[in-house]
Subunit: 435 residues, 2 copies
């Protein structure tokens, strides 16, 4: 039986309880930092030699040469052909929907011309080369390959390079099949901090990339943080979370299962339900009790619900929305009668799942929107992964001779105010009446 | 006389020379890291008390209480009224142009509805609260206040909080005036890593924010990197750079002055000229010799040009474009006859200044586009600061009962393939024919 925590917004100390519930410090520890720094230094100095040595040691298989590290393209295609057709069709359907949604996110060039002929705007270009980290072992998720790779290809990234560790030399067929479906260009059987370092700095065999994306364990996350600046990175993700806001009129078993779907990820995953209907919270608690013994991952779910789960009672649904905005959840389910109206009051959330039929797992796999979402309250300032993460902008400025005159006078005053006289004189050279 | 380096793309070893010229390692050193970690821990534990103590020690003035740390709004307005009208008008003109350009960058909600009634899209919201770091002392640039603050306000940020150190208690009037012009909501006289920590975690007096932007020294940059995750940050900037691509037909003195305008920033600033016209490079070298003695910051310029400057000869202008794409410069001047056509071949640059009249300093102050740009080759994967950095997206998913049926079947197959049965069962509950 899972002793899930109950909070009530009317209790004194509610805000403190809520903050304690959400507390998550993502800071890496010093020991991991120093191991990762050493691995990065090794890859930068020794390249392939270091990569082979670390792969033998950490993944327990011995590449005979650096060529062994590459997973040939035809191997991915072969995996796609070998998996059951039901899985292949599901992967292809999901990829198609992720692609259709991603097309809506593409940024385009824009510019405007002022009366004096001065042109201003932005030019949008894709990244040349991107590295995609895919975890090995139990956390190897083919859906994660689709969610990272498809937007990159829609953006027009020139070369998309996947890295995936193969512990004991074992390849994950579904991951390879997903790579084939989503257009991964090259793949390497490497993992951990060493794979991130190889992508960031390049080795004789691994091409250096411009950005590294994808989830990973603490070593991968720490390595990404360390190479940030040398290359771009996506967000460093914390544990997965769901917040369900319910008016009490959805089947309690549906809601219990939605809470389980986060809790089964890992011990630190967070599942919270908020409702103004106290009886409904009791019903969901009962549904949790009833369903938990039937779950394959009941131990994991119990641990997560007890450690970080909660059922929260608010005075009304407006207050439930306030709680949601404070939590700024990765996944927000609005299981209410008029979710479109309620969504307009949501200021912070990674993804908003609206209505009783929109279960969160649909978003994880195939609805279309990305499942790489800001965790740990970072939806306050960040966004789902998207095509825009694989494009960048360059400002465009073309000043006419008239524009150089009027703007040059303003720039001259401000530059001299800052004591930057070369700036001022560069602008003054282009004035009609020289200073 | 400045001994500026000459490179030639026809020489063996050109690529290695170019890479050596660009080499810049932004990694913070261990000593700075540990000082910054200690400061952050102090602010988190002691709040205002630590902030007052560090301000007294590092900025050499003693706040009598935490209230002393705030610079009242009327003090900013007072500065705006006190500065010379020429400067006030220049600030207002610049702010107006930055605002007009920024309006073009605003992201909007979008959505589409599929045949079965399923709605997908993204909702865009501004950040609640943003912190703007403004350096004190010699690097206090009012233009930097405008460039960071205006896009934030255009985005609709609820509260914009400026921090600016006041060494020896001295306020910079132009910075305060720029804050008034650009709509800064509150300001505090604090700086260094302690100001970044206070913004990230909040103290009794300083409100915690959702994102910290703005330039700063190594301590500020290291602190921003350390608090990333707790709050969002903008890029961690390296030294400023300009790359001028010229066909040899612009006045050599104009080009020399454009190179100076970067070099005068600091010793590490980088100024590079690329041309296929060797005679023109000689003329620019001569102009540098001639003009250098007339420059207020000639020592700084000489140091920077000798340390990191270069005149590069290429075989033709196509090769000059290749060099530009490899360098991925912060500022790129295309001082050529048909810059619009050439710009289409540019894959990586922070800002592209097109034509002989578009001097880079116009972009620094008042053309409209942001002067906060990716440095140190990071234009390969990042973009100018913009309104979009103060907005974020939430995915919108509202699945119809029909959609829940078709999508649920796909999700069920993929979730079971990943061993996530709670995910599968959550989707299966919403199927028309229950599994």
């Amino acid at each position: 039986m899972a002793a899930i925590r109950r909070l009530d917004s009317n209790n004194a100390g509610f805000q403190e309880e809520l903050e304690a519930l959400l507390a998550w410090d993502s800071v890496s520890n010093a020991e991991v930092n120093s191991i990762v720094d050493e691995i990065i230094a090794g890859i930068r100095e020794e390249g392939d030699a270091s990569l082979i040595e670390l792969t033998a040691k950490l993944d327990r298989w011995q590449p005979s040469s650096a060529t062994d590290l590459e997973i040939p393209h035809q191997r991915m295609q072969q995996a796609l052909e070998a998996i059951p057709s039901e899985q292949r069709e599901a992967l292809e359907k999901a990829a198609e929907r992720i692609r259709a949604y991603a097309e809506h996110q593409k940024m385009n060039d824009w510019s405007y011309t002022e009366d004096d002929g001065t042109l201003l705007g932005q030019q949008v270009t894709p990244l040349d080369r991107v590295g995609l980290y895919v975890p090995g072992g139990k956390a190897a998720y083919p859906s994660s390959v689709l969610m990272n790779a498809v937007p990159a290809k829609v953006a027009g990234v020139g070369e998309l390079i996947m890295v995936v560790p193969t512990p004991d030399g074992e390849l994950n067929e579904l991951v390879l099949a997903a790579a084939a479906v989503s257009g991964v260009d090259r793949a390497f059987a490497i993992g951990g901090a060493q794979a991130v370092a190889a992508l960031a700095y390049g080795t004789e065999t691994i091409p250096g990339v411009d950005k590294v994306v994808g989830p990973g364990n603490i070593f991968v996350a720490t390595a990404k943080r360390a190479v940030f600046g040398q290359v771009g990175i996506d967000m460093v993700a914390g544990p997965s979370e769901i917040l369900v806001v319910c008016d009490g009129k959805t089947d309690p078993e549906w809601i219990a299962m939605d809470l389980f779907s986060q809790a089964e990820h890992d011990e630190d995953a967070q599942s919270i339900l908020v409702s103004s209907d106290g009886d409904f919270l009791d019903q969901v608690a009962a549904a949790i009790e009833k369903l938990l013994p039937t779950m394959e991952r009941s131990d994991m779910i119990t641990t997560a619900l007890e450690a970080r789960g909660a059922l929260i009672k608010t005075s009304d649904m407006e207050e439930a929305v306030e709680v949601a905005n404070f939590i700024a959840p990765e996944h927000l389910e609005l299981s209410v009668e008029d979710p479109l109206t309620m969504a307009k009051s949501i200021r912070h959330a990674g993804a908003i799942f609206m209505g009783r039929y929109t279960s969160e797992p649909l978003g994880d796999y195939c609805a279309g929107p990305n499942h790489v979402l800001p965790t740990s309250r970072t939806a306050r300032f960040s966004s789902p992964l998207g095509v825009y993460d694989f494009q960048k902008r360059s400002s465009l400025i073309m000043v006419s001779p008239d524009g150089a005159d009027t703007l040059g006078q303003v720039a001259s005053v401000l530059a001299r105010g800052e004591g930057l006289t070369a700036h001022a004189r560069s602008a003054e050279y282009r004035l009609k009446v020289k200073k």
